[in-house]
Subunit: 125 residues, 2 copies
DNA sequence: GATTGCTTACGAATACAATCGTATAATATA
DNA sequence: TATATTATACGATTGTATTCGTAAGCAATC
């Protein structure tokens, strides 16, 4: 159903916090937001209310302080944005993106191992 | 100096076309844009004029039909957006992004070889 | 040289994102 | 209970992106 749901940049910031915490109150989210962005509490509140209207999150209203939960699937969002990015920034080349990502910092040994096994699996295909 | 230059989504679409072609006229760009988006010619024109004002592109005005060239470095844009994406969508994990990218389609044999050699280089570090 | 077609320039409308102030209700605390 | 604190609701403003209509210039063609 959610084919055309495209969170804005601020919404993505909030979603990423919710994905980390699984669910959270406005204040909890705002505390994290504030670390990188100088905005008022009601701004974060309003944003999350709008996200609720859009269906990006759901909320539990049973207590005075509402608890928000992401309803947009993280993996879906990943697919959407990675796909878009490959198109516009890497002329459609997945491996170009991979190269650029790998080049930006040395992954940990366990990360490398994981990636290697992924590649081996792909080679067997 | 161009630290805070953030092309919008439409601007990115146009930039990606310009990066492909190296340089192009408004009509050439618009022809490609139209394939995926139903907008008028003057919309594309205006967008490219704004991009010129912002310094995202330069243009050669010596003939009646102007020729636009991207001035924003593609690699810089890649770094910016890949970094942002790793943060918001992959909790800061580069390898997670790599896994997701690799998983979305089997890269060609030569791509795989390239990625493998990249990994070997990283392992030696 | 009038007509047609393609071009840029530019103002303006529309839409959407982001921000915040204020009112109001609920809860905790003095 | 009165006061302070914390929460939501919501209107309104501001900023920015996107879209397009219309005018005007230039060049090819009738």
């Amino acid at each position: 159903m959610n084919k055309t749901i495209r969170p804005t940049e601020s919404e993505l910031d909030i979603l990423s916090i919710l994905w980390e915490k699984d669910s959270a109150t406005v204040r909890e989210v705002h505390e994290v937001v504030q670390k990188t962005k100088d905005v008022g509490y009601t701004t974060t509140l309003k944003l999350m209310q709008i996200m609720n209207e859009k269906g990006l999150v759901t909320r539990n209203v049973s207590s005075k302080t509402h608890i928000y939960t992401p309803s947009l699937n993280r993996e879906k969002a990943q697919e959407h944005f990675v796909g878009k990015m490959i198109q516009t920034l890497f002329s459609g080349s997945t491996s170009q993106l991979v190269m650029q990502a790998l080049g930006r910092q040395k992954p940990s040994d366990s990360d490398l191992a994981e990636i290697k096994s992924m590649i081996q699996k792909l080679e067997r295909k």
